[in-house]
């Protein structure tokens, strides 16, 4: 569904310097595949998501989504960021409806679906609350509902649970998997957490820093649906050891 071929992105900073954020990234993602990206901070993970969404142009190489070259934003995509970035003046329900509204659709026709999504993510009954009346985890659930409402076939998630405490984080990962089992889509998911990357993914893409490159792509053979128990599977430990050694070996080498 997504094909990145030899993608490079070089930014020009305001002072005029060139910063190569990612280099030579080749990655093919299948329809309905769950792919996670792990790597040190600054290795270009956010950049990759923005490139795939067409928010910023590639410097070299090509990106195709469903056989169409990406040159500008396209609407079949949902975005979730590290911060929920909800609209503080809108109720929870109206925040969820924001996506269809910005897409130019008629929000009234999506009210029922928005409520259903809130129900699905455990936020039933919170429709009329303001975001600031919700905890961080609940706000992030609203942001996920907002991304899911137009039912995009591609979901780009940039460290969506990165600002949450460890317990909420694990809960949210399992919840996301549950939602994903129910409404399949292609997910590109950036994370700092190695266990999270493995628990969620069909494949884990390990990146190295400066400039960001793909170090290795790991197939995660753990059976689905996954639960907390999956973390006790020996394959889980093997995968996480491998990811860890890839990241730390590079770090030691560059020191």
């Amino acid at each position: 569904m997504i094909r990145l071929d030899g993608v490079e992105k070089t930014y020009r900073t305001r002072r005029g310097d060139l910063v190569r954020a990612v280099e030579d990234v080749t990655l093919h993602v299948e329809e309905n595949e769950f792919v996670t990206l792990v790597g040190p901070s600054g290795c270009g993970k956010s950049t990759l998501l923005r490139l795939v969404a067409g928010l910023t142009p590639v410097t070299r190489g090509a990106i195709r989504v469903r056989d169409t070259a990406v040159s500008e934003p396209f609407t079949d995509v949902g975005f979730v960021f590290q911060q929920p970035v909800l609209l503080p003046w809108r109720s929870v329900l109206d925040n969820v409806l924001f996506s269809v509204e910005m897409l130019g659709l008629e929000p009234r026709q999506y009210r029922k679906q928005a409520s259903d999504l809130l129900e699905l993510t455990g936020l039933g009954g919170f429709e009329t609350k303001y975001p600031r009346e919700l905890s961080g985890g609940m706000q992030q659930r609203v942001a996920i509902c907002r991304a899911l409402l137009p039912d995009p076939s591609l979901l780009l998630m940039d460290e969506p649970f990165g600002a949450l405490d460890a317990m909420t984080r694990e809960e949210m990962s399992l919840e996301l998997l549950r939602v994903w089992e129910e409404r399949r889509k292609t997910i590109l998911f950036v994370t700092h957490s190695i266990p999270e990357a493995i628990l969620l993914a069909d494949r884990v893409v390990v990146m190295t820093a400066r400039p960001g490159r793909i170090a290795r792509i790991l197939e995660i053979g753990l059976p689905r649906p996954r639960t907390i128990e999956s973390e006790f599977d020996p394959r889980f430990k093997a995968a996480s050891d491998e990811v860890r050694s890839l990241i730390f070996a590079r770090r030691a080498a560059t020191r």
Binding site: A53, L55, P73, T75, F81, V85, L87, W89, M102, L103
Partner: protein, 256 residues
């Protein structure tokens, strides 16, 4: 809990105020302070009551000048803020001018303006506007620029037009900032109007203060000052009320 709040929020300040007034009244009698130096509160009140009908006309003029200047500061300030935020070129062109306009002491401009525009209310409206528009521009521009970049990315990824993004995201996001500026602006507008009246006028509370002091009628000057303060407080409260109505999400969360 609620009782403690009533005592703390209202009773303590009210008691302090009454205490000060009583001490003031007593001091003017005990030390025989001449009334043109420091009139007793009772004398101020009596004079104000005497003037109640004449005050109405003067207060109206000052109110009109204040509101005119305030309205102008918003009508000019908000579009200026939008231009500054959306166009880096205009920002570079306008910011120095705005800062320059702000750094000239308004009291120094007032006589020149009156010279140029003559008498009447319009020059006072313009002085009030000049004093008030800076916080409106700066705060609104800050608010418009405060939208998280992720939200702008999100809007772009939904292919929403820049205008739609402005209307649905940036403008509401800037509202609390705008109101912070507007609350400063309304207070400054009162000052601007009075400064304009000081420089040359035959109407308004500023004029009453000025002419009262030149005839040693200190009671009258004091009662005009009090009326002016009440007006400023009421206007501030009105802006704060509009803010609460426009931005209900800012109200403190209800405790249950």
């Amino acid at each position: 809990m609620i009782r403690r709040r009533i005592v703390g929020d209202y009773l303590v300040p009210a008691a302090t105020l009454v205490g000060v007034l009583v001490a003031w009244e007593a001091a003017t009698h005990a030390f025989r302070i001449p009334r043109f130096v420091m009139p007793a509160p009772s004398a101020i009140l009596a004079e104000g009551w005497d003037w109640r009908y004449r005050f109405l006309g003067h207060a109206w003029v000052t109110l009109y000048e204040t509101l005119g200047g305030f309205a102008l500061s918003i009508v000019v300030g908000v579009p200026l803020a939008v231009l500054i935020v959306y166009s880096p070129t205009l920002k570079n062109a306008l910011y120095p001018l705005i800062v320059l306009a702000q750094s000239v002491p308004k009291i120094a401009i007032a006589p020149v303006l009156l010279l140029m525009l003559g008498h009447g209310e319009i020059p006072k409206v313009i002085v009030a506007f000049l004093v008030a528009f800076f916080p409106v521009v700066v705060d609104t521009a800050t608010g418009l620029a405060a939208t998280p970049p992720e939200l702008l990315d999100l809007s772009r990824s939904y292919r929403a037009s820049a205008f739609k993004t402005f209307l649905k995201v940036r403008l509401p996001m800037a509202m609390p900032f705008f109101f912070a500026g507007a609350k400063v602006a309304i207070t400054l507008s009162v000052i601007g109007a009075v400064v304009g009246e000081f420089v040359g006028s035959d109407k308004g509370l500023g004029y009453v203060i000025l002419s009262a002091t030149s005839y040693w009628k200190t009671e009258l000057a004091f009662s005009s000052m009090i009326l002016l303060s009440v007006m400023a407080i009421v206007l501030f409260g009105a802006v704060a009320l509009v803010e609460r109505l426009v931005c209900p999400w800012l109200a403190p969360a209800g405790e249950e």
